[in-house]
């Protein structure tokens, strides 16, 4: 296909700092950011000074030009941010791929860094500038309550069962038990723990919601040609579209369709460009700012209808190695840690490499969906040499 990005670039390096409890990182945010980028370069076998492109999303404040002296950058040739918040993560891969395919840059770092000390409660800072009066005047602080309104509609009007929300949380906590880096490692979780946890904003309980960590995560994107020389199993970017259909955006809860996570148009483009469909996916990393929004993302991508959701989205189906759709195999935002979803990208790459702590045997197609319900969203499908 002319103009397609399909398979023309790959993720060749992944790096991340430990995910610290919020406010406890030993280093300031920019240093964490540098550590993640340098680790991703070392993983790829690329000198950090060769990075000539810098891409992030949302409110990332560590612009490439600030990092140049520490990386020894020879020339910054491309730098850009995807608009929105967590919705933009997989799309940041697509932006990096666009830069590489069009010759604007050769080696692009895609990254996200977050530390409360230097970031001054980013959750507040992030939402402050773009939360409309209609919310704040009426006792709605931001994302959690907004997600609650949308998910309540999905449950009550569309009939998606609540069991799907618990199943997503249960799968994440289950996977985290094999990931020593995960926040929930060694912490048992079951229906009793879930149901006894307090409501934050109905229908969401504490265990339905992600909580920010300090940390930084980075990946390195380069051309498929160079990737083949660098690593054994590049994770090829088959498609990574960003967008919002008409009727979606910052619409103060006037979105149509409302009980959606906003991916319908992006998912259509993802499947069209990649040439695959939901039935082909081996494993998925589903960004869950809150469980029900992750359920909405799965529905939007066509894995099942609202009527079928209760049947597909069960604990058994959502866990590695042999579930029908293993999700969030490192523990996800809920149970591994939350650096605005960026650690889902590294896990999606590990599944293609065969190095996840909850590996899906022979995974060839690895999906990552971005922050659900954001005013723009994005998704990425990664493939192996066999599915490229």
């Amino acid at each position: 296909m002319t103009g397609s990005l399909r398979g023309r670039t790959a993720v060749v390096g992944i790096g991340q700092t430990p995910l610290y409890k919020r406010g406890t990182a030993p280093d300031p945010e920019m240093k964490l950011c540098l550590r993640a980028i340098v680790a991703a370069c070392e993983d790829a076998g690329i000198p950090p000074r060769d990075v000539d492109g810098f891409v992030s999303y949302g409110s990332e404040r560590n612009e490439g030009q600030k990092l140049m002296p520490a990386l020894g950058t020879r020339e910054l040739r491309f730098g850009a941010l995807i608009w929105g918040h967590g919705g933009g993560i997989p799309g940041a891969l697509g932006l990096a791929a666009s830069a590489v395919v069009t010759g604007q840059a050769e080696v692009v770092a895609v990254y996200r860094s977050l530390a409360e000390q230097s970031g001054a409660r980013l959750r507040v800072a992030v939402a402050q500038d773009d939360t409309a009066a209609q919310y704040l005047v009426n006792g709605v602080d931001g994302p959690v309550q907004i997600c609650s309104l949308r998910t309540q509609r999905m449950l009550e009007a569309d009939g998606v069962p609540r069991s799907t929300m618990f199943a997503l949380a249960q799968a994440a906590y289950h996977h985290a038990q094999r990931n020593p880096q995960a926040a929930a490692y060694g912490k048992p979780f079951d229906a009793g723990v879930y149901e006894q946890s307090r409501f934050v904003s109905e229908p969401y309980r504490l265990y339905d919601c992600s909580r920010e960590n300090d940390g930084a995560v980075a990946v390195i994107v380069t051309s498929a040609e160079r990737a083949a020389d660098l690593v054994d199993r590049p994770a090829y970017i088959l498609s990574a579209p960003t967008g919002a259909a008409g009727g979606w955006g910052p619409l103060e809860e006037n979105h149509r369709p409302y009980a959606s996570s906003g991916f319908e148009a992006v998912a259509r483009r993802l499947w069209a460009e990649s040439g695959y469909g939901p039935g082909d996916v081996d494993v998925a990393q589903i960004y869950e700012n809150a469980t029900g929004m992750g359920v909405g993302a799965i529905l939007d991508h066509g894995f099942c209808t609202a009527e079928e959701a209760g049947g597909l989205l069960t604990f058994e189906n959502l866990i590695a190695p042999y579930g029908r759709l293993p999700v969030n195999t490192s523990g996800g935002n809920l149970a591994e840690g939350f650096v605005h979803g960026m650690s889902l990208v590294t896990e999606a790459v590990r599944q293609i490499r065969g190095t996840s702590v909850n590996q899906v045997p022979g995974a060839q197609l690895s999906l990552m969906t971005g922050g659900p319900g954001d005013s723009v969203v994005s998704s990425a499908l990664l493939g192996s040499g066999a599915t490229r």
């Binding site: 402050q128 500038d129 009066a133 704040l136 009426n138 006792g139 904003s201 809860e253």
Partner: protein, 142 residues
């Protein structure tokens, strides 16, 4: 009305100054495109359907049905003014006769009949500290 009064909250599109001005005057008004008659909410600067830059801020009864709702059990950072009201219910209301336009508000009174589709009516409140110095609408199930 052809101006937008400055309001302290900078988020969103911020073309809704006349919405708050009307509420402060005790009226519930939503913008309707002067060119094609479409209800254009949330307010914006141009009608994307017909290209008109003019809107008629049209008075409506504050009546509708619950489109969705949430009961908040936590005093969030930026809505601390309502900490003493926790738990409180916020409803998203689909306004009658406005082509599906929805506005938010806190629910007052009996919550027993609260559900999606329940008819609600609003009462306009004067600017208050709880509403960050803005006028607001509280809703009750009918």
């Amino acid at each position: 009305m052809n101006h937008n009064s400055p309001r302290p909250i900078a988020g969103g599109i911020a073309a809704d100054g006349l919405y708050w001005d009307a509420l402060e005057a005790g009226e519930f008004r939503l913008p309707r495109c002067a060119g094609c008659g479409r209800w254009t909410w949330p307010a914006h600067w141009r009608c994307g359907e017909c290209g008109s830059w003019d809107f008629d801020w049209t008075a409506l009864q504050p009546k509708g049905v619950v489109y969705s709702w949430t009961r908040t059990w936590y005093a969030f950072d930026r809505t601390r003014e309502r900490a003493g009201d926790v738990p409180y219910v916020v409803v998203l209301v689909e306004i009658d006769g406005a082509d599906g336009a929805r506005v938010m508000g806190v629910l007052a009174g009996d919550e027993a009949a609260l559900k999606i589709g329940a008819p609600v009516a609003g009462t306009i409140l004067a600017p208050s500290q709880k509403a960050k110095g803005y006028p607001s609408i509280v809703w009750s199930v009918q």
